[in-house]
Amino acid sequence: MREMIISELSQALHEIARGFAHFLPRLIVMLILAAVGWVFAYVAKVVLRSILRLIKFDKLSENAGASQLLTKAALPSATEMLSRFVFWVAWLGFILLGVSVLGILGLQEQVTRFFLFLPRLFVAMFIMFFGLLAASFFSRAALLAAVNANVPSPRVLSLAVRSIIIVFVLSIVFEELGLAEQTMLVAFGIAFGALMLGLAIAFGMGGRDLARRFLEKKIVRGKKDENDDELSPL
């Protein structure tokens, strides 16, 4: 009996030792991958930061309005944020690669899903950035046009343009990420519909005089416009 217990124990210890001996190289490979990944991610971060500084990415981000958002949230500059993001994504990628080497059941699928998700994440970030850039450009264009046309409340018009574009961009981003697609679709529909209805009412109520003046000018010939008293610039 005693011998049997010792034999079972020694067999179990052998099994553990064999399992550990079998696992140890994989663990070492994982640690090596994590270390190499850190070096790779760090180099990628430094190179990317230099490139972004060279192309004045912070200026572009400022124009897009992203810098203002980051400043309000007490976050670093857009260049620093993107560099850090790339560092963590790259390093995490290597760590997950190492984890997959360990051969732990169940983790393999999660790792695969993570790598499949990465391209969608990058596309979503790309859309978000250029969406903010477009929102900033068109809202400023609307503001300038409204000021020069002497339209009342130009900032409201500019804000409306910015909001419409951002809502539209966000809906595309969430769709791209595959996050709560149905909820986002319904939320987008409600938000966009409400915005349009609000604008229609606002323009309808606020633009009555403008529409009347426009129609009078177009239909009733010879009616003097207030612009008629301005001077020729050239």
């Binding site: 400023r140 264009a141 503001l143 300038l144 000021v147 020069n148 002497n150 610039p233």
Partner: protein
């Protein structure tokens, strides 16, 4: 039509000008018969796709219609050719001008003159006044001068003339004009320049042409034509006018930096006749609206101005925007600093360049308000003295522009 070589080429860019173009061509023919009867002449009409029969009217005008009334005879054939140029709508004067320059080079024209189909009071003598100095005296560019109302052409008197004079060192009153004469060699040199491929489609090409003549050290003079009467323009035309003129001037500053950065002071250009004449009759102007649009612009565009102007200039603008109509004054020094900071921001592309130009419009209105108030009861000499004072301010503050330019390199 085979024309061969010509001595004189008259360029006439058109787009739906059927109402005026017939009489303009008559006047051009009359001017040619009076001033250049022995020269081989061609009228080139570059049309931007008129739908009102403008090209047919140009080619249909017969020189025989001119002869009986004026008792004039041409000793050479006078051709009228109309060509349609390809351009995305709306047609631009740049593409039309390029077409005319290409024709001038092809026909080896010695002297050329551009005429506007929108000039309401063109005279046959204008042809001789614009072509004579080139054909007979060897000048390369003849810029016009006009008799104007003191409150007309305020973009010219408050920005274009003073700034081009301060930067390029030559006193050309009308650097941007639809009518001017030029030599074939200047036309050929300009045709080969890069202005056509810089994405602006030759916007403000008339101004760029004048600046190219100055930087290329060509012989330039001015010729007094008489009163300038043009198609009425309203306030809505201010932004396009700024794009055509100030946009062209600002975009020329970067390639021309080696020239204008070393110029100090300014020299008068040789001028035939008066270099300006001022009309003083009363004119109804909505001054209140000008000041209101300035104040609204300064308040609403603060975020835009923060990207363009220095904090001190913006603070000063905000201060005067809060003043009442009686106390409001946009001083010359502040105006010059504003314009120079806009020029530097345009070069740096602080924001979209077109947005920078648009943002200048409300500030220009504020400056116009002050100009109107300063010259409300002024004599012609007083108006001219005020313009001269502004020009000297632009010249005095030129080092400030150079400093901005260098600090942003």
């Amino acid at each position: 039509m085979n024309v061969g070589e010509v001595d004189i080429l008259v360029g006439l860019p058109t787009h739906n000008n059927a109402k005026t173009v017939g009489s303009i061509v008559h006047i051009i023919q009359s001017g040619i018969l009076r001033g250049f009867p022995r020269e081989r002449t061609v009228i080139i009409n570059a049309d931007g796709g008129s739908r009102d029969g403008t090209p047919e009217l140009v080619t249909g005008v017969s020189i025989d219609d001119v002869r009986p009334s004026s008792n004039l005879y041409a000793l050479r054939t006078l051709h009228s050719i109309s060509t349609k140029y390809a351009s995305s709508p709306p047609p631009t004067s740049g593409v039309a001008f390029r077409t005319i320059l290409a024709a001038a080079e092809l026909l080896r024209a010695r002297a050329c003159v551009m005429m506007s189909p929108e000039s309401a009071n063109i005279e046959p003598e204008w042809i001789s006044k614009l072509l004579g100095p080139i054909y007979r005296d060897g000048f390369d560019l003849v810029a016009p001068t006009y008799r104007r109302h003191r409150f007309e052409g305020l973009l010219v008197t408050n920005l274009l003339y003073p700034m081009t004079r301060a930067l390029y060192g030559l006193r050309i009153r009308e650097a941007y004009s639809p009518e001017f004469g030029f030599s074939g060699r200047l036309g050929s040199q300009f045709l080969g320049q890069n202005v056509w491929n810089d994405g602006t489609e030759g916007a403000g090409v008339e101004l760029r042409f004048t600046l190219a003549a100055i930087t290329g050290r060509y012989r330039i003079c001015q010729s007094f034509l008489g009163e300038k009467v043009h198609v009425e323009r309203h306030a809505a035309d201010l932004v396009p006018a700024l794009r055509q003129t100030v946009g062209a001037l600002f975009s020329s500053l970067e390639p021309d930096f080696p020239v204008w950065s070393v110029v100090t002071g300014s020299q008068p250009a040789p001028t035939t006749g008066a270099d300006h004449e001022v009309l003083l009759e009363p004119l109804r102007v909505n001054r209140k609206r000008l000041r209101e649009m300035f104040s609204t612009g300064v308040a609403e565009l603060e975020s835009v101005f923060q990207s363009i102007l220095s904090p001190s200039t913006l603070a000063e603008l905000q201060r005067i925007a809060g003043l009442g109509e009686g106390a409001f004054h946009y001083p010359a020094e502040l105006w010059v600093r504003t314009v120079y900071e806009f020029a530097a921001a345009y070069r740096k592309s602080a924001i979209s360049r077109d947005h920078i130009i648009q943002a200048l419009a409300p500030l220009f209105r504020g400056r116009v308000f002050t100009f109107l108030m300063e010259n409300r009861d002024a004599s012609a000499d007083d108006v001219e003295n005020n313009i001269e004072g502004l020009c000297l301010e632009f010249e005095r503050l030129k080092p400030y522009l150079l400093q901005l330019w260098k600090s942003r390199e």
